[in-house]
């Protein structure tokens, strides 16, 4: 698999806009368009060196809300860009790793079983 870069880190927060504003103010990071997610009622993002930190306020009864309730506000997911998503899917299949194909901000993505990714909610996407 050719894994090219960190696309974004996801932070769950009861107030995504406020969290993004805090990161802008404290770290001097510019705001960026957020990909958003079906399990979030609000999203906001900041950019750093071509990667993003994306903040999401969870919708009710979603895994994201469960993550907030269980672990509190903080980092919950990591999204990496791969050169070829189909090839990545084949590699995962060969390795016996379970994943779910999804759409993320209009791009195809593969959500990897966190048990295979050492507890990390890890998504792979290819640049659309």
């Amino acid at each position: 698999m050719k894994t090219e870069r960190i696309d974004h880190v996801t932070v769950v927060s009861p107030d995504a806009a406020r969290a993004a504003a805090t990161f802008s103010r404290l770290f001097g990071l510019a705001s960026a368009p957020a990909a958003g997610s079906p399990d979030a009622t609000a999203s906001a993002a900041v950019t750093i060196g071509g990667a993003r930190i994306e903040f999401r306020t969870p919708a009710a009864s979603t895994p994201l809300e469960e993550a907030l309730q269980k672990g509190g506000e903080g980092m919950v997911a990591l999204t990496l860009e791969v050169a070829d998503l189909d090839q990545a899917a084949q590699t995962l299949q060969r390795a016996g790793i379970r994943f779910d194909p999804q759409t993320m901000g209009g791009s195809r993505a593969l959500l990897i079983d966190p048990r295979a990714a050492h507890g990390v909610r890890l998504a792979l996407m290819a640049r659309s």
């Binding site: 698999m1 050719k2 894994t3 090219e4 870069r5 960190i6 880190v9 932070v11 927060s13 969290a19 805090t22 990161f23 103010r25 404290l26 770290f27 001097g28 990071l29 750093i48 060196g49 071509g50 990667a51 930190i53 903040f55 672990g71 509190g72 506000e73 903080g74 980092m75 919950v76 997911a77 990591l78 990496l80 590699t91 995962l92 390795a95 790793i97 966190p114 295979a116 990714a117 050492h118 507890g119 990390v120």
Partner: protein, 142 residues
């Protein structure tokens, strides 16, 4: 841009039970090359940096259950631990954070795996543990 500016994600830290076992996924499946491995005895951790583009994934294995990483593992299990930003001047970046009222873990920069580093307290940053790193000169990415 001031030298204290945070220019990129230096790495994302992930706590794992066992480095060798974690390589089976992060190195062998995702294809990320292991760039550096070191034991940081005073932090109670064995760590590996795996290159991804201009950033890295830092895998952290506790040396003992009583270390900070060992306690994290016992309480929360394997998973995301911290995010580290690169800066050209960690001391100046730390002073800026202090001036903005950020609660600090390290009052001054210290040597770490990623260079000269410091940690900020997650209480000031929406639960996210943030590290700043000024890479050692011979290890700086572009």
């Amino acid at each position: 841009m001031s030298s204290a500016a945070l220019t990129r994600i230096h790495h994302v830290g992930v706590v794992v039970r066992d480095l060798e076992q974690a390589y089976g996924f992060w190195r062998d499946v995702l294809g990320l090359p292991v760039h550096k491995v070191a034991t940081v005895a005073d932090q109670g951790v064995r760590a590996a940096l795996l290159t991804i583009g201009g950033s890295e994934i830092e895998l952290l294995e506790p040396l003992s259950p009583s270390s900070g990483i060992g306690k994290f593992l016992a309480k929360r299990g394997e998973g995301l631990h911290h995010i580290c930003y690169a800066t050209e001047d960690v001391a100046a970046a730390l002073e800026e954070a202090r001036a903005k009222g950020v609660r600090l873990i390290d009052e001054k920069p210290r040597p770490g795996l990623a260079g000269t580093i410091c940690f900020l307290h997650p209480a000031s940053t929406h639960g996210v543990l943030v590290e700043y790193a000024q890479p050692f000169p011979d290890e700086a990415h572009s």
